[in-house]
C-alpha cells in the first residue's frame, strides 16, 4: 500500500497513479486518505479498485461470467461446486475465514449471524439505546450500517440507530464519500449527522493544510477526527458509537503494539468495547471485530452496497505499514492467522507490577489524555498561535505554559514556527 510521502506539496501522492500523473493537472484531495490526487488518478482509482478486487478475490469467486475474470480463474470453475451449507445451490465464493464454499444466500446469512452472535455474546447494546454508527462512506462502515439496520429489525434489538459522519472541510474531499453516506442515509432510512471540523474546532482541514503543509496533515486529521466523533455523539445525545473496525484491523494493532513494546495499548486493543472513560468520551464498540476484511468486501460486493472510499492507509506511522504487510503474509500462509492473533491478544496477561501510564483527562476540554493537555488541544493551540509544530513533536514541557496562557520565549517560538516540511 502507499506509504509514500510526496516530496513536494504539488505531487500526486497516490503511488498507483504516479505513472499517470502528467504534472499539469489540478490536484484535489481524495476521500478519507486526505491525499492529493489529480482528477485522472481519481477516475483511474475507481477503475483500479474493481480490477484489484478481482485479482484479490479471484480465488474466492467462481463466477465464470465476469468480464474481469483473470485467466487463472478457470482453475476454480471446472465443475460446479455446491454450497456446503445448504448443499443445494451452487457455491459462488469460498469463505476466506473458513475455506467453505457457500452460495450467496448462505454467505449472507452466515456473515450476518456471526455479527449478531458477537453482539449478543459481548452484550454490546441494551434495548432503547441510541447508537451512532461512525460512517465514512468506506466499505467497513457501509457494511456495518447495513448489517446493524438489518439485525436491529431481525432480532428486535430495540435500538435507535443513526449515522454519524465527520466533514473535515476540504474542498473536493468529501464529494464522493459524503455523497455515499447521504445515499446510505436514504437507503437505510437512518438519520445522518455530519459534524464539521469548522463547527467543532474553528478550522477546516484546508486551512490547516495551508498552515502545516502536506506532510503532517494526517496527524491533525486523525487526532481531530477521533474527538469529532465524540463531540458529535454528545451533540446528538448518542449513548454508544459503533465503529467499523474489523478483525484485520484488530490483529494488525496487536502486532504493531508488540513491535512498539506498548504494553498498555496491547492490553487494551483487543477489547471489543470501551467503557466511558471520562467526560466527553462516549463508549465505543466494534461489532465487526471478528469479521475478516476480505469477507466485508465480499459482502459489500454481493450485496451491491454503495461505498466509495478506501480506508485511510496513509498513516504517518511506519510500523503500522510493516505490521499490515506482515499480517497479509501471515494470512497467506495460514488464513486463520488473523483470528489466531486476536485469540493471542485476548489471552495475554501482563505481569503484575508493570507500570501502566495513568489515563488522566485534558485540563482544557476534559477529553482522556495522559498529558495535561490532550493532543487536539495542543494542535489547536499551535494553530491558533501560528506555531504549527507545537502539536507535532514532543513538547510536553510547554503544556503548563499553554495552560496558564503564558507567552513562549522567542527561542521556543522560532523553533515551532518554521515549517520545513
Amino acid at each position: 500500500m502507499c506509504t509514500f510521502q510526496p516530496p513536494t506539496a504539488r505531487l500526486c501522492c497516490r503511488r498507483v497513479s504516479h505513472a499517470l500523473f502528467s504534472g499539469e493537472e489540478e490536484l484535489t484531495v481524495h476521500d478519507e486518505t486526505t491525499c492529493y490526487l489529480t482528477q485522472s488518478c481519481k477516475t483511474y482509482l475507481v477503475y483500479v479498485r474493481k480490477v484489484i478486487f478481482y485479482q484479490y478475490f479471484s480465488s474466492c469467486i467462481s463466477s465464470p461470467h465476469s468480464q474481469f475474470r483473470p485467466r487463472f480463474i478457470g482453475n476454480f470453475v471446472k465443475m460446479p461446486v455446491l454450497c456446503s451449507s445448504c448443499t443445494e445451490k451452487r457455491a459462488v465464493l469460498k469463505r476466506p475465514k473458513t475455506g467453505h464454499s457457500l452460495c450467496k444466500g448462505c454467505f449472507f446469512w452466515a456473515f450476518e449471524e456471526e455479527v449478531h452472535q458477537t453482539i449478543v455474546a459481548a452484550k454490546l447494546f441494551k434495548p432503547g439505546e441510541i447508537v451512532g454508527i461512525a460512517a465514512s462512506g468506506g466499505k467497513d462502515s457501509t457494511v456495518l450500517a447495513h448489517v446493524m439496520k438489518l439485525l436491529n429489525e431481525r432480532y428486535n434489538y430495540g435500538l435507535e440507530l443513526m449515522l454519524l459522519s465527520v466533514d473535515e472541510g476540504i474542498t473536493g474531499y468529501r464529494d464522493d464519500s459524503l455523497e455515499t453516506v447521504k445515499r446510505n442515509q436514504q437507503q437505510y432510512e437512518l438519520p445522518l449527522k455530519i459534524v464539521s471540523y469548522e463547527e467543532l474546532y474553528g478550522w477546516t482541514m484546508d486551512a490547516i493544510v495551508k498552515q502545516v503543509g502536506l506532510k503532517n496533515n494526517c496527524t491533525f486529521c486523525g487526532v481531530f477526527r477521533r474527538q469529532a466523533l465524540d463531540r458529535g455523539a454528545i451533540m446528538l445525545k448518542v449513548d454508544k458509537i459503533c465503529t467499523g473496525h474489523n478483525a484485520d484491523d484488530v490483529a494488525e494493532t496487536v502486532l504493531m503494539n508488540v513491535l512498539r513494546g506498548d504494553i498498555a495499548r496491547l492490553r487494551r486493543c483487543t477489547a471489543i468495547s470501551t467503557a466511558s472513560e471520562g467526560e466527553g468520551v462516549v463508549p465505543r464498540c466494534k461489532p465487526l471485530k471478528y469479521a475478516y476484511e476480505k469477507e466485508i468486501v465480499l459482502y459489500a460486493y454481493f450485496k451491491k452496497l454503495d461505498y466509495f472510499s478506501t480506508e485511510c492507509i496513509y498513516s504517518p506511522n511506519a510500523y503500522r505499514g510493516y505490521a499490515r504487510t506482515f499480517l497479509k503474509d501471515l494470512e497467506s500462509v495460514r488464513p486463520s492467522s488473523i483470528i489466531d492473533i486476536i485469540h493471542s491478544g485476548e489471552n495475554l496477561s501482563v505481569r503484575e507490577g508493570v507500570k501502566m501510564p495513568v489515563q488522566g483527562t485534558c485540563n482544557r476540554c476534559g477529553y482522556i489524555s495522559s498529558q495535561a493537555l490532550c493532543k487536539s488541544c495542543v494542535l489547536l493551540e499551535g494553530l491558533n498561535r501560528g506555531l504549527p509544530k507545537l502539536g507535532i513533536g514532543k513538547h510536553h514541557r510547554l503544556h503548563d505554559k499553554i495552560l496558564s496562557q503564558q507567552p513562549l520565549t522567542e527561542k521556543e517560538e522560532r523553533k515551532l514556527k518554521s515549517v520545513d516540511f
Binding site: 456446503s84 451449507s85 455474546a121 504517518p316 506511522n317 500462509v333 495460514r334
Partner: protein, 512 residues
C-alpha cells in the same frame, strides 16, 4: 478506519552507520573492537568481561539454579547454544567468588532423521560434536530424535514440582556449598557416556512418516518443536537433572514471541519466551542466553574461537513464506536491519508478560494441553475469538452432517513435497475442494471419517494453537504411542467423571 488516531511517532530510530576507530567506552584506553549498538564500543578485553558478567548476572538475578544442582545444557551445535556451553565452562573455571556452582551435563538431539539426512551425515555431525563435548569434560548424552517414539506416557504428565524453595533457601544453599568440598563437581566426569545409541532404519522411517503427516510446514515445525521438548525433558528426568538450559538468545526470543502470537499462543507466551518455564513441573526450562543478541554472540564466538557446528535444518532451502515460523524470522530480521531497536523492543514486551489464567503450577492435569503441556486456553467464553471461530465453522456447513469443528483445509502456498501426503481430497458431501477431513491420499477418498475417531476427541485435550497444528495433519495414527495412550487415559478419566458427576459434591481435586 483512520488509523492515525493514536500518536505513534516515537520509537523509530533508523540504523546508523557506526563511526570508525573509536575508543572502548569501558576502559577508555584500548581501541574498540566491537560495536554492540550505536555508541557501545568495546575493546576485546572489556567485551569478554561484559559478556561473561552478563551470563552470571542473569543466573544470579533469577536465583533459580541452586548450588550443586544438576543442570542439563541442550546444545544443538549452533552459535547460541555453543556459546552457552562456553559460558558455563568459563563460569566453572572462575575463582571462588564468581564461580558457578552447579553440575552441568550436555544433551544433543540428533534430528537428522526427521530432516532426511543420510546415516553418514548424521554420524559425521555427531562425531564432530562429540569431540567438542569431550573437551569440556562434562558428561554428555547424544540422543537421536527417533527415541521420541519410545517415550513413556509420563512425559506428557506434569510431575509434581520439587518442594517449593523459599528465597532464603538459596542463600543457605550457597553458604552450605561453599563450606562443603566444592571440588565435588569433578566427579561428574566419571559417568561420561560415549556410546551413541544405534538407530534402526525402521524407526527413522516411522519418524519421517510422523513428521510428514503434518501437511503444512508451519505444523511440521511446531510438531518437531514439541517432540524435541518432550525428548529433552525425558532425558533430563532419566539422567537425574532438574534444570534444562536452552540456548535461546534475545533475537530468538523476539522471533519466538511474534511467532507465538501469530500461532495463537498468547496465553502461553510467557512460558514460551520467559527465563524460567515450569510447565513440566519437576524439570524447569531455563533460558540464560535470552539477554544476548545474535550479533553479540556471533562476535564473541568469532573473537574467542567458540566452536560451533553447522547443522543443516529441514527448511534451509524453502522460501520465506513457507511457514509462519520462517516468515516471522525473516520479518524480524529485515525490520531489525532498518530499525536496530526492533528486537530489543519486542524482547522487552516479553518481559512484561505473564501466563494467563491460573498459575501454571496449580493447573489441574486435565486442564493442560496434551502436546505443549501448557494450561488450556480453550474455555469457551462469550465473545472470544475462539467462540467466533466455532460459530463461523458451524454456520458455514450443513448442520446435520457436520460435527462442531470440522477442519478447514489450508490453502497451502508451499505444497509440502511429501508425495504420500499430496492433498487429493475430493469430497462427495460438499462436492468441492474444501471438503472437511477426508482421508488424504486414499483413493476412494470420501468423508467417512471412521478411521479417525480420535481427531475430534483429541481436540478437547489440546490448547488453541496445538489444535491448529493437529488440524493440519492428515492422520493422527502416526502420533507416537505415548501421546495416544495418554490421550485415551484422559478421555476415560473424563468419561468416568461425567458418569459419576451427580455423586460428586464438589470439584474434587482427586482428578488427574
Amino acid at each position: 478506519m483512520c488509523q492515525v488516531d493514536e500518536d505513534y511517532h516515537d520509537g523509530l530510530e533508523r540504523a546508523e552507520v557506526p563511526s570508525v576507530s573509536k575508543k572502548c567506552v569501558k576502559c577508555k584506553e584500548a581501541s574498540a573492537a566491537v560495536v554492540i549498538r550505536a555508541g557501545d564500543t568495546y575493546c576485546r578485553g572489556c567485551f569478554k568481561e561484559y559478556f561473561i558478567h552478563k551470563f552470571r548476572a542473569m543466573l544470579g538475578k533469577n536465583r533459580i539454579i541452586f548450588p550443586g544442582e544438576k543442570v542439563l545444557l541442550a546444545v544443538s551445535g549452533g552459535p547460541s547454544s555453543s556459546s552457552m556451553l562456553s559460558q558455563v565452562q568459563e563460569g566453572l573455571s572462575q575463582n571462588a567468588h564468581k564461580k558457578l556452582r552447579f553440575l552441568p551435563g550436555i544433551v544433543y538431539i540428533d534430528e537428522g532423521g526427521a530432516v532426511g539426512q543420510s546415516v553418514e551425515e548424521r554420524q559425521r555431525t555427531v562425531a564432530e560434536l562429540q569431540a567438542v563435548f569431550k573437551a569440556t569434560g562434562f558428561p554428555f548424552h547424544m540422543v537421536p530424535l527417533e527415541q521420541v517414539l519410545d517415550l513413556p506416557s509420563s512425559v506428557v504428565v506434569t510431575a509434581p514440582a520439587a518442594s517449593e524453595q523459599p528465597a532464603s533457601a538459596y542463600k543457605a544453599a550457597v553458604d552450605h556449598f561453599i563450606q562443603s568440598d566444592s571440588s565435588s563437581c569433578s566427579t561428574a566426569q566419571d559417568h561420561e557416556q560415549t556410546s551413541v545409541p544405534e538407530v534402526q532404519e525402521s524407526h527413522t522411517q516411522l519418524l519421517q512418516q510422523l513428521i510428514g503427516s503434518a501437511q503444512t510446514l508451519t505444523a511440521r515445525q511446531d510438531l518437531l518443536n514439541t517432540l524435541r521438548h518432550h525428548l529433552l525433558v525425558h532425558t533430563a528426568r532419566t539422567e537425574g537433572y532438574s534444570k534444562l538450559m536452552l540456548g535461546d538468545n534475545c533475537t530468538r526470543v523476539a522471533v519466538k514471541l511474534l511467532t507465538s502470537i501469530s500461532l495463537g499462543r498468547g496465553a502461553q507466551l510467557a512460558q514460551d519466551t520467559g527465563f524460567a518455564d515450569s510447565r513440566y513441573g519437576d524439570i524447569i526450562l531455563v533460558r540464560p542466553m535470552r539477554d544476548y543478541s545474535a550479533k553479540e554472540i556471533a562476535y564473541y564466538n568469532h573473537m574467542f574461537s567458540v566452536p560451533s557446528v553447522f547443522i543443516p535444518g529441514g527448511d534451509t532451502k524453502t522460501t520465506d513464506k513457507a511457514s509462519i515460523q520462517r516468515l516471522t524470522e525473516s520479518f524480524v530480521t529485515k525490520l531489525q536491519a532498518d530499525f536496530p531497536s526492533t528486537v530489543s523492543t519486542i524482547y522487552r514486551t516479553s518481559e512484561k508478560l505473564q501466563t494467563a489464567c491460573r498459575n501454571s503450577s496449580t493447573a489441574d492435569q486435565a486442564d493442560r494441553c496434551l502436546l505443549c503441556m501448557c494450561a488450556l486456553d480453550t474455555a469457551v467464553e462469550n465473545a472470544s475469538a475462539f467462540q467466533a471461530t466455532l460459530t463461523s465453522e458451524q454456520l458455514s456447513q450443513n448442520k446435520p452432517s457436520g460435527a462442531t469443528g470440522t477442519e478447514n483445509p489450508r490453502q497451502n502456498p508451499a505444497p509440502v513435497e511429501q508425495e504420500s501426503t499430496a492433498p487429493s481430497g475430493q469430497c462427495c458431501s460438499s462436492g468441492g475442494e474444501d471438503c472437511g477431513r477426508t482421508e488424504r491420499g486414499g483413493g476412494g477418498g470420501c468423508c467417512s471419517s471412521a478411521k479417525e475417531p480420535e481427531r475430534t476427541d483429541l481436540k478437547s485435550l489440546l490448547c488453541y494453537s496445538c489444535q491448529l497444528t493437529i488440524k493440519d495433519m492428515s492422520s493422527l495414527e502416526r502420533l507416537p504411542q505415548y501421546i495416544l495412550s495418554e490421550a485415551q487415559r484422559r478421555q476415560r478419566r473424563s468419561q468416568m467423571r461425567e458418569e459419576i458427576s451427580e455423586f460428586l459434591l464438589d470439584d474434587g481435586d482427586e482428578g488427574s
